[in-house]
């Protein structure tokens, strides 16, 4: 059965029908649940919210939804690859390419980034003693733009086919000639829309961290998570415009028949350079916030100030700086000549120095500390050896002659999963277990948390360690099958088993969320982990204004200082008074809706949609310009207590 959707033929094959049905069933289930629990009104309130922790929680929720989708893609790929010359369902050839492209794109842009940005949203204002981000409206808009982009890339599977050219989408492979159909247009438009959102987030966090710190919190007194967010935001600010330009050129080539990136006219290398000028800083955008989370978690659960604070800060900056100097190491085999390869090999290897400093600083923070093996700490401890393995294979890849062998093999796949899962994803889990009680007022179950950690970590190593050996045996990336005589069958089967173990770990995590929401103890107090930084001085969950009185900071780890040297209370920097908080608004949702309509217009060549969408965006911008002041004034309850929180517990 085939039907036509704006001149694009959609074949209703079994996989598409299953996908359509599951979308339908999930939609109906959500609608029934919302009606049954009478939650439509509060859903509407959440959609309109511009509050940092609510936007952060929406980022986390959406990120996890995409995580499940990306994980499903991974399982499909692993099943297809489990046996030589396997034919699992329809996932061979083009359909396999669709799976691996959506897996990569989703995991990088719609899982790792939003989950990190979600944690930043939640924790940064608390940690620097602020009431909200500098631009709450912009923050909500960033979220909705990211969501629109994610939905565009994900809906492609049922509306004309997903992108097929890999997450790097190299030209000329990604051009109309070799990748016809709307799939890769979904990629260019979806990433463009969500990329704008990410750029706005970066500006927001830069201004917030520079202008909104509590009195007395100098830069060198900030916790390391805000520091890593600051450096990450600078990376986003200077890296994402390169992606914007690259996507723009690809879009023009595909939609309007220009010749920027073709092999015969134009220059295909432009894509590779622009993509990696964005793409390599992107790797550090993903891992630096995780470094920040680990620093805070390790210091809290070792009950020690982080070792070598200033060298940690300098390393962050060095990694951020060097991150822009290494992009050509993705292009060693292009043939740019030995001189440029040598320069970029050396700059790449030199990143190991600041990273090594950080690893040793974490180890020295643990040394001599009073270590508490909470789940968050376990994720931090699991990260150190895992990430070191990923770092070592990274230096191997930076060795140019060896890279000619490793390039585009499963060795590379093994390497980047070690750094991205071992760094970013473990960091996200650590952050979620760590800040969960502050977000929701109850802890996640520790026993289930430990099950989650061990199944996920062991499953991870079983999945990805064999990939290095597969790569050394010559298995190329992005293939959907191999021959029995290649000697890859056993390793691939092991890897598939590991993937299912990771999936089991994720299920335990989801069960933990449900179980803890039902059964966990409610009153965790302000400071469940015996913490060190400002977020543990306010109620859990905090009131809308976070701090009834903005605190006065006198050193690193202000709460720990107060608990050690005084009565544990932090001095307030202002008298109790009325607090101005931003208003809720639905305009960010409408804005992202308008951009989605415009994107559909470009993907399916419908001029009316393009005009309607872009006019909508312009009108909403003008409307915002005339409604950018009002605020709601909140009066926190009066309390004799001199502490910074206005409410008595």
């Amino acid at each position: 059965m085939t039907f036509t959707f704006f001149d694009t033929k959609i074949k209703m094959m079994s996989d598409i029908i299953v996908a359509d049905l599951s979308i339908l069933i999930m939609g109906i289930a959500v609608a029934i649940l919302l009606t049954y629990y009478k939650k439509w009104r509060s859903l509407w309130k959440w959609l309109k919210s511009t509050h940092h922790s609510k936007v952060g929680i929406m980022y986390l929720t959406a990120g996890f939804a995409f995580f499940l989708r990306g994980g499903l893609d991974a399982l499909i790929m692993r099943v297809q690859l489990a046996l030589p010359q396997n034919e699992f369902w329809v996932f061979q050839g083009d359909k396999y390419n669709q799976m691996m492209t959506t897996h990569g794109t989703t995991m990088i842009f719609f899982v790792a980034m939003p989950l990190l940005i979600g944690l930043m949203n939640v924790a940064i204002p608390w940690q620097i003693g602020a009431r909200d981000l500098a631009f709450p409206y912009l923050n909500a808009m960033s979220f909705w733009l990211f969501l629109a982009g994610g939905i565009l890339v994900n809906i492609s599977f049922v509306l004309g086919g997903s992108p097929t050219a890999g997450w790097t989408s190299y030209a000329p492979l990604a051009l109309e000639k070799f990748a016809p159909g709307p799939g890769n247009d979904y990629y260019t438009l979806g990433l463009q829309v969500s990329g704008i959102g990410t750029l706005l987030t970066a500006i927001n966090f830069l201004v917030t961290i520079i202008n909104k710190r509590a009195p007395g919190m100098t830069f060198m007194r900030m916790p390391l998570f805000p520091w890593s967010t600051l450096v990450t935001s600078i990376l986003i600010l200077f890296a994402f415009p390169a992606l914007t330009v690259a996507l723009l050129l690809l879009m023009f080539d595909r939609l309007y028949g220009t010749n920027f990136l073709a092999a015969d006219a134009g220059n295909s290398l432009i894509w590779q350079h622009l993509f990696w000028i964005f793409g390599h800083p992107e790797v550090y955008i993903l891992v630096l916030p995780a470094f920040g989370i680990f620093s805070d978690v390790i210091s809290t659960f070792s009950r020690k100030r982080v070792f070598g604070y200033s060298s940690m800060v300098i390393s962050l900056m060095l990694i951020g700086f060097l991150g822009f100097m290494v992009w050509v190491h993705h292009m060693f085999t292009v043939g740019l000549g030995p001189t440029s390869n040598a320069i970029f090999a050396i700059s790449t290897m030199s990143i190991a120095v600041p990273t090594g400093i950080k690893i040793f600083n974490w180890l020295f923070t643990i040394r001599g500390g009073v270590i508490q093996m909470r789940t968050a700490m376990l994720f931090a401890l699991g990260f150190i050896p895992t990430f070191v393995i990923g770092g070592v294979t990274g230096v191997m890849l930076a060795t140019v002659p060896a890279d000619y062998q490793f390039h585009d093999s499963y060795f590379v796949v093994g390497h980047f999963h070690y750094v991205i899962i071992g760094g970013t994803i473990l960091g996200i889990f650590a952050g979620i277990y760590y800040w969960w009680p502050k977000m929701f007022g109850f802890k996640l179950n520790e026993v289930l948390g430990k099950w989650h950690f061990w199944t996920f970590l062991i499953g991870f190593h079983i999945t990805f360690f064999p990939m290095h050996i597969m790569g050394l045996k010559g298995m190329p990336r992005r293939v959907y099958t191999y021959l029995p005589e290649d000697g890859l069958a056993g390793l691939n089967m092991v890897s598939t088993i590991g993937a299912f173990m990771m999936a089991a770990g994720m299920m335990i995590f989801l069960w933990n969320l449900y179980y803890s929401a039902r059964h966990s103890e409610r009153s965790v107090g302000k400071d469940p982990w015996d913490g060190r930084t400002l977020e543990w001085t306010i109620p859990s969950p905090p009131p809308e204004y976070n701090f009834a009185r903005i605190p006065k900071v006198r050193g690193i780890d202000p709460l720990w200082q107060a608990k050690t040297y005084t009565n544990g209370e932090i001095e307030a920097a202002e008298p109790l008074g009325e607090i101005e908080m931003p208003l809720s608004t639905v305009k960010p949702v409408l804005m992202s809706g308008a951009l989605t309509i415009a994107s559909f217009g470009f993907i399916f060549h419908v001029l009316v949609f393009q005009i309607v969408g872009i006019t909508g965006v312009a009108l909403l911008l003008v409307a915002r310009s005339f409604q950018d002041t009002g605020s709601q004034s909140i009066k926190p309850p009066y309390d004799e207590d001199e502490s910074i929180g206005g409410e008595k517990e």
């Binding site: 520079i210 390169a242 309007y256 028949g257 920027f260 432009i270 310009s625 002041t629 605020s631 009066k635």
Partner: protein, 202 residues
């Protein structure tokens, strides 16, 4: 319990003003990378031309010098408008802002005329990599000017309603940063695209 009420007055606090100006500076940082990449693309592809459309044959410097003069003058009028706002002079602000808008519109008209004459001679967006990269680079700048024009119209409405206040002068300051940046980009386009394009023949 907390009590809350909605406040609405057209003014920005000191910290809001500082946030907005700093935010726009960072936005300009991102824009520098954006235009840097577009310049890189142009310099990579400007050799791939068809017969009769190399830069030195195509460009008419007279017209470009005129539009450069017009756009750079608009930076001056924009700065005057901001000075007027800081001195609280409503008439000075509004007349110089209208002047800026008119100059910007003249610049846009000249650019449309230039593009139109190229297209009329068959040098379209898709005719060669050189033309494509030229249109994308100069066109992106033109889009920025167009957005600036719409922004100025909105600003004029604001000024008409609120006169000169902390609210409107912050908006004007943010806009003027953007506008000067757009002008600086034009200086680079004028040099790299037009002057060097013409100089190759020497």
């Amino acid at each position: 319990m907390t009590t809350s009420r909605t406040v609405s007055s057209k003014q920005f606090s000191k910290s809001e003003q500082a946030d907005k100006v700093l935010g726009l500076w960072f936005f300009i940082g991102a824009e520098i990378v954006l235009f840097g990449c577009l310049f890189g693309v142009y310099l990579t592809l400007n050799g791939q031309t068809r017969a009769g459309e190399s830069p030195e044959q195509l460009f008419e410097l007279k017209e470009i010098i005129l539009s450069t003069f017009v756009l750079l003058s608009s930076s001056f009028t924009c700065a005057q408008a901001l000075i007027g706002a800081t001195q609280g002079q409503f008439n000075k602000t509004i007349s110089f802002l209208i002047g800026t808008l008119l100059l910007a519109l003249i610049f846009l008209g000249l650019e449309v005329h230039e593009f139109y004459s190229y297209v009329r001679d068959g040098h379209t967006f898709t005719s060669s990599p050189f033309m494509s990269s030229f249109y994308v680079l100069v066109g992106t700048h033109g889009m920025h000017v167009l957005v600036g024009c719409l922004w100025m119209i909105v600003l004029l409405v604001h000024l008409g309603k609120e006169k000169v206040s902390s609210y409107t002068s912050t908006k004007l300051e943010v806009f003027s940063l953007y506008w000067h940046f757009v002008d600086v980009v034009w200086v680079f386009i004028f040099t790299i695209v037009y002057l060097i394009g013409k100089a190759v023949v020497l």
